[in-house]
């Protein structure tokens, strides 16, 4: 028997490419697109979805002549990790009334990072509640703005009523290394959560 052309387990087929995604949430102007752009290999792209039935009653089209649909934009970036593995980073639409879009964005996601601006800390409540309700692993990242009041992490944890098991980190959304650390924290937290759900207590190394 000739093994020279032996292809184990379907190596002849075109190689499957697996994609994963991490969600970046937070209020309008908190730096979501900046964060994505700091680490993405492509300029952040924008995908637009049209608000149709889900928007009925929220956006009354009759009040805007000629306007039948509202466009919801979301920004995203890409990190090609291997020939067969791509990580996408999706920013959520800033306006919380576009929940239908959020559901689509988080489906199958590894986890999420909620970006917080200490000048508008209450903007973080909606995404925090949302991820808590959907049982998506998330971390909170405090984006450092030079002119913003500086708080201790624990003060912020208390102000946002973040439970002790949720990681809280400082970050600078403009810096690649800092963003990388936020994403590493998201994945590590997701692994811990998954292990805990399956009865493992050991921490990830």
């Amino acid at each position: 028997m000739d093994f020279a052309n032996y292809d184990p387990a379907g190596a002849n087929r075109s190689r499957e490419i697996i994609s994963a995604k991490i969600v970046i949430a937070g209020g309008f102007g908190v730096g979501k697109t900046t964060l994505v752009g700091a680490i993405s290999e492509i300029q952040p792209l924008t995908t637009e979805a049209l608000m149709t039935a889900a928007g009925v009653g929220i956006d009354d089209p009759s009040k805007v002549p000629g306007k039948e649909t509202t466009t919801v934009a979301m920004d995203f970036g890409r990190i090609t990790m291997a020939e067969d593995l791509i990580l996408y980073l999706f920013g959520t639409p800033g306006q919380t009334r576009f929940w239908f879009m959020w559901d689509e964005i988080i489906r199958g996601a590894v986890g999420a990072a909620v970006l917080v601006d200490t000048r508008r800390i209450t903007d973080a409540f909606a995404p925090l509640d949302y991820f808590e309700n959907r049982n998506l692993p998330y971390v909170v990242a405090l984006n450092r703005f030079d002119d913003a009041p500086q708080y201790e992490l624990e003060e912020v944890r208390e102000a946002l009523a973040i439970s002790p098991d949720v990681p809280l980190v400082m970050c600078d959304a403009r810096r690649r290394e800092s963003v990388k650390q936020v994403l590493v924290t998201v994945v590590e937290h997701a692994m811990l959560r998954l292990q805990a759900e399956h009865g493992f207590a050991a921490p990830v190394g």
Partner: protein, 120 residues
């Protein structure tokens, strides 16, 4: 990618390119990756302007549904209907999004993503 040269421009109603269909044949995830071989791309030439544009975007570099929508400047819902048709017609190859179930498969994926990030 060639620049947008669609004479219908923005005046066309978004779902006209799908002949009014708003439900895709399958609900492809935003991050699900699609690829197109030169053979598939050549075939897509005969599948209409919009499908050929989609094929061109994916040729040589696998792209997610979200990227296809962004590069072709079509709304996400419209893109999803066309892409799902193309998968059914064999003009595009759909790759799996992250496995949502199965502890071992999920842990393995998270581990790969984690080391991928650390190596950046």
């Amino acid at each position: 990618m060639e620049p947008r040269r669609d004479p219908r421009g923005a005046l066309v109603r978004p779902y006209a390119v799908t002949r009014g269909r708003t439900e895709p044949l399958q609900n492809i995830a935003l991050e699900a990756v699609l690829s197109c071989t030169p053979t598939q791309s050549a075939e897509a030439r005969f599948a209409g302007h919009d499908k050929y544009r989609i094929a061109s975007v994916c040729e040589g570099r696998a792209q997610s549904l979200a990227e296809i929508a962004a590069y072709t400047r079509m709304p996400l819902g419209v893109t999803r209907v066309l892409v799902a048709d193309m998968v059914a017609e064999g003009l595009l190859t759909l790759h799996t999004a992250a496995p949502a179930t199965g502890f071992a498969a999920r842990m393995n994926l998270l581990g790969r993503v984690l080391s991928g990030l650390r190596e950046l």
